[in-house]
């Protein structure tokens, strides 16, 4: 039982990270119907930004409080990835909006390849280990819960609350939802569609940067290839939850985190990703639009 709860906690932590990245996929998909393949690499860029900020901070201010360091890492990573995603949308996706549907997908894949190789070229191909930022561990009986897990879960929860508030309670969120429903109509009613889409990319990037920072903190290592596997899993999470649905993305992320940690614990670590993908395929076969996705009515 303890073991089970332990794995549940681990899964929850991992799932929070996936969920944050999945939101970026699902928002962009919802608003412009495009799979933003480069989003996983934005997550990776976020991790690297946090890593570099961490290095600079610790070399200049050796005794800096951990909380302050973490906050600075988060903020700067969010800013930098936002700039990137804003520019990427502007340069690579916007000119193709409304054209041939596969074109933006291909540019996104190209962007993903370019971004990971950009980091490989500029920062080198080796894994980058960072010393652990937070070491505290709590014991409840046989269950261990580390402070960093707690931080991850809390930061995720707070961000989701803020995010939910923005989408459901602000004019910006209203513009986003309107654009999602009907871009042309929204534009006619005075919504600045271009700006709304830009902001969506910025928000997705900021959440991905947070996830990237958390991922770095959790595993203590960064690599230029980090964009792919977590990216695909987060995308899987978004689809599993029902792409386009924000609660779905979070739910999907948590589910995938849980599947992964429970499968590794009880079956085999080697096949944990196989399990994730197989469950995705299985769910889609029976529920073709994901768990919380609106069923697609075939208008004839």
């Amino acid at each position: 039982m303890e073991y089970f709860i332990q794995q549940l906690l681990n899964g929850l932590t991992l799932g929070s990270i996936y969920g944050l990245v999945a939101i970026g996929y699902t928002m962009v998909y919802g608003i412009i119907g495009m799979i933003n393949f480069a989003h996983g690499d934005i997550f990776m860029l976020g991790g690297f930004a946090a890593l570099i900020v961490f290095l600079i901070l610790t070399s200049f201010f050796a005794g800096i409080p951990v909380a302050l360091a973490l906050l600075l890492m988060l903020i700067i990573a969010m800013l930098v990835t936002s700039l990137w995603n804003w520019t990427i949308e502007r340069v690579a996706y916007r000119p193709l909006r409304g054209s041939f549907r596969l074109a933006p997908l291909i540019t996104a894949i190209g962007m993903s390849i370019a971004l990971s190789n950009f980091i490989q070229v500029t920062q080198g191909p080796r894994n980058k280990p960072v010393p652990p930022l937070i070491n505290d561990v709590y014991h409840f009986g046989d269950i261990t819960f580390s402070l960093k897990q707690l931080v991850i879960v809390i930061v995720t929860a707070v961000l989701l609350a803020v995010f939910w508030y923005i989408v459901h309670r602000t004019p910006l969120g209203r513009a986003q939802r309107a654009t999602e429903q009907d871009r042309k109509m929204a534009a006619l009613l005075g919504v600045d569609v271009d700006r709304t889409i830009s902001i969506t990319f910025v928000m997705g990037a900021a959440l991905a940067a947070v996830a990237g920072t958390m991922y770095l903190m959790y595993y203590g290592v960064a690599s230029f290839t980090d964009g792919f596997t977590p990216g695909v899993k987060a995308f899987t999470a978004a689809v599993l939850g029902g792409i386009g649905s924000l609660p779905g993305a979070v739910l999907g992320g948590l589910l995938i985190g849980l599947i992964e940690s429970l499968w590794s614990a009880y079956f085999s670590i080697a096949y944990k990703d196989v399990a994730t993908f197989a469950i995705l395929a299985f769910v889609l076969i029976f529920k073709p639009t994901g768990i919380l996705g609106r069923p697609e009515v075939e208008k004839v």
Partner: protein, 462 residues
């Protein structure tokens, strides 16, 4: 950054300057951490960092000045040209075809057949290896894979992000079966194709009801599942270590390329021993396989099944209203695409003599898909051009030793291969969203065969 509609607007330079500065500042923000600072491990394996301000300055200046030039000079120039063109009323697609374009395929085929002997006579037997192998075989494998995927994506309009799975099935089928049963390449080639098609049907059957991007993610998932199984099922596949010593192909069992064999090709003809003969042989094999793929695809397009694929891409509901069994139609597209992937895979195994899961990562699927889309969906010529440009172009980078003279001896052009590949994908899509060849050739006609402009064709919902 609104579009400049008229050339030589008064405030143009001020605007260009403003945008240039903006771009420079933006680049500073984007590159400050990644380019301006380099992280590295020291001897104790601790991370250290040092600044690279010079490089950062170059990035910022290139972005700023580049944007300034584009806004101030390039964009007005382009707009002017477009305006002039529109005034003159020249249609965007010119209809007349020169001799070269009309006979493009025949000329290309002759050139390819002559390619190995020509290269050999110029660079000698050993010197030709690089050209035949890296530029010939490598590109032709991608041509074949892309033509195979074209059936699924370009004709039937089903987005498949896991095509490399069938390539893997073909490669492992050959590697394992030749090892287990000692069967020859020529026996196993069709078997590998059939096995891949079989997998195509098995994977396709449950998922082909899915629409659009759901299909994309599930095919991606299947691609990853197959790769992960290859990695983890070590008893059979030897995991990441891969299978080495895969048997070479022979010339229909008459001549062998095994060094020790009595019927060794070079020995039989009294030639000096060289691996170049095997490569040249392989070149012709893959060329023949490509031709087979092209022939079958072209024939199928003119058959009811091929038309149904294209109709499916255009409108699935209309297809069903005409009595077409769309599930079967999709499955055949999937299976035939997979079969070509399987052929290419078994060829790949015979060529490398080694297979490992490393060769079947998602990136390969992405590259193949990119070639199909960059070439122009459905167009064999366009896809071949895209394969040559993208694969040949990146191979060329390996050859650019002279760059070391410019950038110093530490410069490894290979490192930039995939970076440039990615950027090229973006650039081609931005300038030609429908690929190199955007129009499609009708499969039947009453009076005259007129190419259908790309603006009418749909890309399918998958």
């Amino acid at each position: 950054m609104t579009e400049q509609n008229f050339p030589a607007t008064p405030g143009l330079m001020a605007k260009a300057l403003k945008e240039g500065i903006f771009a420079g500042v933006l680049a500073l923000g984007m590159f400050l951490l990644y380019v301006g600072i380099k992280t590295d491990q020291n001897i104790n394996n601790e991370l250290i960092w040092y600044p690279r301000w010079g490089l950062l300055a170059i990035f910022v200046l290139v972005a700023g000045i580049g944007r300034f030039l584009i806004v101030g000079f390039v964009a007005p120039h382009i707009n002017q040209r477009r305006l002039a063109k529109a005034k003159a009323g020249i249609p965007e697609v010119s209809e007349d075809k020169g001799f070269f374009r009309k006979h493009f395929l025949k000329i290309a085929l002759v050139a390819l057949v002559l390619y190995p002997p020509v290269v050999m006579s110029i660079y000698g037997t050993q010197g030709s290896l690089k050209f035949v192998d890296n530029f010939g075989i490598q590109i032709l494998i991608y041509v074949m894979l892309a033509w195979g995927l074209n059936v699924v994506v370009g004709l039937a309009g089903l987005l498949d992000l896991g095509y490399v799975a069938f390539y893997a099935v073909g490669a492992y089928s050959y590697a394992l079966l030749s090892d287990l049963f000692g069967l020859s390449f020529w026996v196993l080639l069709p078997i590998a194709g059939i096995l891949a098609a079989f997998w195509g049907i098995i994977l396709g059957f449950p998922v082909l009801r899915l629409r659009g991007d759901y299909l994309a993610i599930v095919t991606l998932a299947f691609g990853e599942i197959i790769r992960l199984v290859l990695i983890n099922w070590t008893d059979v596949t030897h995991g990441t270590a891969g299978i080495s010593g895969v048997a070479k192909a022979s010339i229909f069992g008459i001549w062998s390329f095994d060094v020790g064999a009595s019927n060794n090709f070079a020995k039989s003809f009294g030639l000096p021993m060289s691996s170049a003969y095997y490569k040249i042989f392989l070149f012709y094999v893959i060329l023949a396989l490509c031709m087979l793929t092209a022939y079958v695809t072209l024939r199928l397009r003119r058959m009811p099944i091929g038309r149904a694929w294209e109709a499916l891409r255009e409108d699935e509901i209309a297809c069903r209203s005409l009595g077409i069994n769309t599930v079967m139609t999709k499955l055949t597209a999937f299976a035939i695409g997979a079969m070509f992937g399987g052929f290419a895979g078994s060829f790949f195994a015979a060529r490398q003599g080694f297979v490992s899961p490393e060769s079947f990562v998602f990136l390969e699927s992405a590259v193949i898909l990119a070639i199909v889309v960059l070439g122009g969906m459905g167009s064999l010529t366009g896809i071949a051009i895209a394969a040559i440009a993208m694969v040949g172009g990146t191979e060329l980078l390996r050859e650019m030793e002279f760059l070391k003279l410019i950038f110093g001896p530490d410069f490894t052009p290979e490192l930039y291969r995939m970076l440039l590949f990615g950027l090229a994908m973006i650039a081609v899509m931005l300038f030609k969203p429908r690929g190199f060849v955007g129009s499609r050739e009708p499969t039947a006609f009453l009076k005259e065969r007129k190419a259908v402009s790309g603006s009418f064709t749909k890309e399918g919902h998958g």
